[in-house]
């Protein structure tokens, strides 16, 4: 029970802290003090108190989208193993439900962006849709291969790669983590795919889709985005954190890992430039090819003798 409560707290608060730590890391590399790591949480509270401004050209779709987005992301969180436990809803093929709940929320953010009638937001939506179509197959390829390996089609099999894959275990783990990490950068709209700090609408992907959202709508969407990053990071945790630790220890390991991932993201954002929009696809395909490597390693293990 305690661990369930801890997991709920993690979903509620850790996304803000991760965003805060990323910003702090960027500030560190830029030679600045930066805002407190709790700033995203303060911003959330501030935005929740504000009044809406809603464009007259929008319809009901625009109004309900933030709620749908946050509800589906929170629902998706139930299917993912967080700190030191199985998912709350741990069913066979839960990853398919997980992926499509997230797609559902993305579908609504896309049509909500187009609902505003702004040419910027339409452009952002088309970019986001493009990346999603490439990310989705890679994600399924990765998870389905890892699960086929253990014959157990729940997220629990992520932790058993080493014991099931024998000599291939380490390689599979490395590439699986890389796939998930690139996916965090894409889905979380981070550099080098997107630039969350820019004010230039023409270059934005995720940010431009929520240009018209304000107050609690904006707060919910930003929070949902943070949770999405947390969930994908949790999949990395499920692979990396060794099985058989005590509950407390693995919860600590989990939090340390979240911290590390945030620092790495922040460092990448400080040290690299963003990829040119037309070349982003090549970057996304790198992820697909890593997923293919996992698939082939698993195939080699299962059928190669």
């Amino acid at each position: 029970m305690a661990i369930k409560i801890l997991n709920i707290l993690i979903v509620l608060f850790v996304p803000f802290l991760m965003l805060g730590i990323i910003k702090k890391t960027k500030a560190f590399w830029g030679g600045r003090y930066g805002a407190s790591i709790f700033q995203p949480l303060y911003d959330f509270i501030k935005l929740m108190k504000k009044d809406f401004v809603i464009s007259k050209t929008t319809s009901g779709v625009f109004r309900i989208t933030p709620v749908i987005v946050i509800a589906s992301v929170l629902f998706a969180a139930l299917f993912v193993p967080l700190a030191s436990s199985s998912a709350i809803i741990n069913i066979e093929a839960g990853f398919i439900v997980f992926a499509y709940i997230l797609s559902f929320s993305k579908f609504f953010s896309l049509i909500s962006a187009m609902d505003t009638g702004s040419s910027f937001e339409g452009m952002g939506a088309s970019r986001e849709a493009c990346f999603t179509t490439i990310v989705e197959p890679a994600f399924f390829m990765l998870l389905a291969s890892v699960m086929a390996l253990s014959g157990n089609y729940t997220f629990d099999s992520l932790g058993k790669i080493i014991e099931n894959a024998g000599g291939y275990g380490i390689l599979i783990c490395i590439f699986a983590v890389l796939v998930l990490f690139i996916m965090i950068l894409i889905e979380g709209s981070r550099v080098p795919v997107d630039d969350p700090a820019t004010h230039l609408e023409l270059t934005m992907i995720h940010e431009v889709m929520i240009l018209d959202n304000s107050a609690s709508d904006l707060a919910l969407i930003s929070w949902a985005n943070g949770i999405k990053m947390l969930l994908l990071s949790s999949l990395i945790a499920a692979i990396v954190i060794p099985q058989g630790l005590t509950t407390g220890l693995s919860a600590v390991a989990y939090l340390v890992l979240m911290f590390l991932i945030s620092v790495i993201i922040g460092t990448i954002e400080s040290a690299t430039a963003r990829i040119r929009m037309s070349h982003v696809f090549e970057f996304v395909f790198v992820m697909s090819s890593f997923a293919l490597i996992v698939l082939s390693l698993v195939a080699a293990r299962m059928f190669g003798g």
Binding site: K26, S119, D195, E201, R274, R276, M277, H279
Partner: protein
Amino acid sequence: MNWIKTKNNTKVNLNEIPTLKINDLREEIISLNKRPVGFFGKDWGYGTTKLFTILADDQNGDLYISSALFEQSEKEYESLTQVLPSFHIFEREFYEQFGIKPKNHPWLKPLRKNQKDYQFFEMEGEEVHQVAVGPIHAGVIEPGHFRFMCNGETVYHLEIMLGYQNRGIEDLIVKHPTNQLAESICGDSTIAHNLAYSKVIEILKETKITKRAQLIRTLALEMERAAIHIGDLGAIAGDIAYLMGASVFGAIRTLVINTMLEFSGSRFGRGLITVGGVNFDIDDEKIQRAVKTFSKVEKDVERMVKTMLKNTSVMSRLEKTGVVSQEKAHEIGVVGMAARACGIVIDSRFDFPDECFKNLALPRKIFKGKGDVNARFQLRYQETMESLSIAKRILEMLKNGYKEEVFTQNENLLCANSMAISITEGWRGEVVHIALTDGNSNLTRYKIKDPSFNNWYALALAVRNNGVSDFPLCNKSFNLSYCGNDL
């Protein structure tokens, strides 16, 4: 003689300027085929309009002046733009200010006024869509409307509609000729515009300013160049989300503008230059501090630029983005830094040097650029280092000699019936100020040309066939002025 030949920073008697028929002037301009620096009208009484043309011969440092008189009934002429595209923007301006129509101008659109009548280019096709940006800018800088004609993510053409900042500053200066007005023509070129204005008025008043004042002016101009270039290097880094560059260059720029603050009480050098010299002398203690600061700035800029140039993710964004070919740049009359980045040899500090710069006898560095963002980035770096070393050299000179007053009082009236021209190389390119006086020694016409006026069209060409998301990067690499264009 159909032309009167003169030099930079001189005045000519208005009566000596030949007055031709417009068709003859047109033929003359086409046969001379030089770069226009002035093409403006003046109300000549009884409903007539006089069109003055000033062409620059950059190789020899000569200026050619001629004029044509339009009778009240003459309301159109055959446009020059069809033959010499570099006149396109000048003819649009002349038409807007005096209503005399250049016939067969390819795009005779409003320049600064009547934007409601603006007819945008239209493109049709299933995949073609338009993206309208502005006039309010996301970073809340200056207003301007940009319209992209895109196919998916690729830009076919960008149309730029400006004029939101039109303050009528030329007429304001005629009414109240002050340094304060000249400083506010374009905030990031405060020194360049104020310097050009002060020179024009000094020429008309026949003031000779001291060597020390000239050195301080040149120092300020080079500091402005360094500060803006460093700031823009940071902005370019920011636009490609390379945060380290953005913050480091931002911090370095502060050192330069704070030195300016020490010299003049304003980070942008407002109030430093005045007609007759400069308002503030620089004492030895400040000189020492500034030399130290500039040495540090040189080192830091070099280190950061080298780091960026070694970073492949940075280079892949800068290279081959926003290319303006040398031929195109030459054809449309691009000036200044943007032109040098395309490999054109043009720099009015060397082409039309003033006395002080001539005495410094600096070698001219030719930049071999390909006209892309990378070229503009590297050119800015090269010019920053050059400006800092000039600044350090001038500081040494100020410390070791030239101990004299920095201000020369002169109560003379302006010379009557004259035209004075001053070309100053600001960080962006040539800043041209031209003043005309009447028989009673009053200013009757003041003409300003900021380099942005020539260069906005180069930006439109640069983004063709680039991704629409690369526009901000191209834009930042030029960093043109809205108010400098709108006046």
